[in-house]
Symmetry: C2
Subunit: 443 residues, 2 copies
């Protein structure tokens, strides 16, 4: 096999003289990169010739590193190139399954940003239930499997939401500069990664990052946006109107309570009955603006209609909207409390049970059952999405909107893959303290 090194002649000689070259080339072929000293150099194959791309500046001494990487896979030392090659890590998977079975931490390098490319360093990326469903292969939006990160088999990066800082831009990039914060306009990009390179089009710039945290910016586009849209886009909600929701202590639930309160809407909030901590949870939700908090058991109690009459001034105040992320019997019970012509919007199915509708509610009460998926909505309404994101971030900045409780998972360069994978797997446990969020340190 003829090997053409696109290197300075003296370096090429050294490479050819190296006894471990074959091993290195084997790695290179697999990864489409080749280690030259501390540089992981992209390599292309044309007509069976391996061609190193870029102007490698490795000195003689660095050639000592042209040996088989100790881990057997790509060499994951943290090295930042003087020529802009970023060393990156990402939680990736090449087949669907449980997080612990399919995720692995993959290292690769990112070439300098040129032309219309933007290089990003992630700051915060949440672990959402939908991300897990995507890993399990049961989510309709599939990730992109690609060999672009230097693997022989196509892999995908987990995560669909997060905020990143721009660390480099190509000369054709006009709308972004180093230091800007960006979020993805659409899901599917893969946000459980330290760095990434992409083009400007898919990014939504945070116009004003003052006074907001990376966690706030990194979690704005799924949960608060879902709550925002559902409160705004289905029923003609006016100040004084009610909505009812289950999963009220979820990220979306808490966002709905707070946004609803700001807009003058009252809320009946359903949480799962639980052996302990119920009073504290109720107080917590009331503290952020919940008018009524009840358990699913209380919802299905015989006296619920009387209670409802009490809350809603004998039914004169209308319950125009229901929000459902649970499914099953609780939804039927909720739907029965809705006023005529209300909408019941399903955005999740935590119980994995279907929604069962007595036909009378459809025909005679004219209740509409809809679903909402923020991903599809965002793709179709990019401008509205932008306005909404900045509206919510303004509320954060003004102290009118509080973070949902979260479990910070620190992701440093040295953090082990298993720690990160455990954090993803852990979100599948029952009653959680809060949503898991990767918060990136020194990467």
């Amino acid at each position: 096999m003829l090997i053409t090194y696109n290197l300075r002649p003296e370096l090429r000689e050294q490479v050819e003289a190296n006894p471990d070259l074959d091993i290195s080339i084997a790695e290179a072929k697999r990864g489409r990169h080749c280690w030259i000293g501390k540089l992981l150099i992209p390599m292309v194959t044309r007509n069976s010739h391996h061609i190193f791309v870029g102007r490698a500046m490795a000195s003689r001494t660095t050639l000592r590193l042209l040996t088989k990487p100790s881990s057997g896979s790509l060499f994951q030392r943290r090295c930042i190139s003087a020529y802009g090659y970023e060393q990156a890590k990402a939680l990736t998977f090449k087949k669907y399954g449980e997080p612990k079975d399919v995720l692995s931490l993959h290292g690769h390098s990112i070439s300098p940003a040129h032309s219309n490319l933007v290089t990003l360093r992630f700051l915060a990326s949440p672990i959402n239930p939908a991300d897990i469903n995507q890993l399990q292969g049961v989510y309709p939006s599939k990730p992109t499997f690609t060999t672009a990160l230097g693997t022989a088999d196509p892999i995908a990066v987990g995560g669909n939401e997060g905020v990143a800082e721009v660390i480099a831009t190509g000369d054709k990039v006009k709308g972004l500069k180093r230091g800007d914060w960006v979020i993805q306009k659409s899901p599917g990009f893969g946000t459980w990664r330290t760095h990434a390179q992409t083009t400007e089009e898919g990014l939504l710039k945070i116009e004003n990052k003052d006074g907001i945290t990376a966690v706030q910016a990194g979690t704005v586009s799924v949960n608060p946006c879902t709550a925002y849209c559902m409160l705004k886009n289905f029923s003609d909600m006016q100040a004084g109107d009610w909505f009812i929701q289950n999963g009220a202590n979820s990220g979306v639930g808490r966002a709905a309570i707070q946004l609803g309160k700001l807009w003058g809407f009252k809320s009946i909030n359903i949480v799962r009955d639980r052996p302990e901590g119920l009073d504290a949870l109720k107080a917590d939700l009331e503290d952020i603006g919940a008018d009524v908090v009840i358990t699913d058991t209380e919802l299905q109690g015989a006296d619920i209609k009387d209670k409802l009459a009490e809350w809603t001034n004998g039914g004169r105040e209308k319950i125009k909207l229901g929000l459902n992320c649970v499914g099953g019997k609780v939804v039927t019970a909720m739907a029965k409390l809705l006023s005529s012509e209300a909408h019941l919007v399903t955005y999740g199915a935590m119980s994995k049970q279907p929604v069962t509708l007595p036909t009378g509610l459809l025909i005679f009460k004219d209740i509409h059952f809809d679903g909402f998926w923020v991903s599809k909505w965002s793709e179709r309404n990019p401008e509205e999405k932008k306005v909404m994101v900045h509206d919510i971030l303004d509320l954060y900045r003004q102290g009118k909107f509080k973070d949902t409780p979260y479990d910070e998972v620190k992701w440093e360069w040295e953090t082990k893959g298993e720690t990160l994978i455990d954090a993803v797997q852990g979100t599948l446990d029952g009653y959680r303290k809060g949503k898991g969020i990767f918060v990136f340190g020194k990467t």
Copy 2:
């Protein structure tokens, strides 16, 4: 008890001289009417005095009829007063239950139309499933129970749809004249009756009755209007788009097939599997414009997706709408065939089973589940209702829209109550030839 006859003196003497007067007065008290010869005269009671109202003109000979009516209840001979008192009969009920248990044929008289009153003679009144549900007390729209028809206990008249001819109008009635055909704008009036008196406001005049039959006019406002609204008001249906419906051989189903065909929509029509007559039924529906007719068994077959692809040009033609009057599993199976963002509209629940929705259809396919109730819609959209009714009647007139098969139940003055009640009860049987319709003869 002092009895004051508000009659001409010579007539009063004759009435007092009649040996059967007590019986007649007893009847009068119960019915608030009193037979004076062939006249059933309204009577009021003031301070325990019975006062006959009106200027009775009975001759000496008619007094022979002042005897106990043979049936023991109100005397139901067909007698038309020279002074405009109409003898009427109505299928009434005073409590909820099965038709055969609660319905009875009630006779009463209707005073001459004066002021803003209109006297109607019914021509055709269908027996709709909703009418039966109303009798059973399980329908949300309750009938009006009243003593206005001369009973001690409040009663209601069955039936919610029909066409009547104007036979008399008061001097303040401007929009209607003798001979006009009218239908009720809203349900709840009671249409299983030979005659009725009401005001102009609740009536929708058939502007042009030429070329349409009483059955067509009398059945236009429930079934064809339901189909019309569902095809027009939920999804953005364009020529070439598909809809899918169950209960396709019902009145609404047949109307939807025909209207859809006229507007360029294609239809997948689901009928119940049945031991015989299936091929004839399929041919019948195809004859009026059905593109595809399948049984509920075929719908739930393993190869349905392949068939669907064949019908819809590999899915390029969208199924934007589903119409459901059955409920249960068939709805879930139908919903799975809908294109993204379709609406599935429930207007009936023949199976008495709820609609069960996999949440993925709501969230990811953005299928909307709505209900439709033509009664409520009509009350809220009177002008649109009028336009729609005349649009449909025009289609009948032009021969573009065919009657749904029906079983005519002739209602003559002499027709026995049990015959009429049997016809109502009979609609509860399984596979019917067609909808039952009272068609009035000499009443």
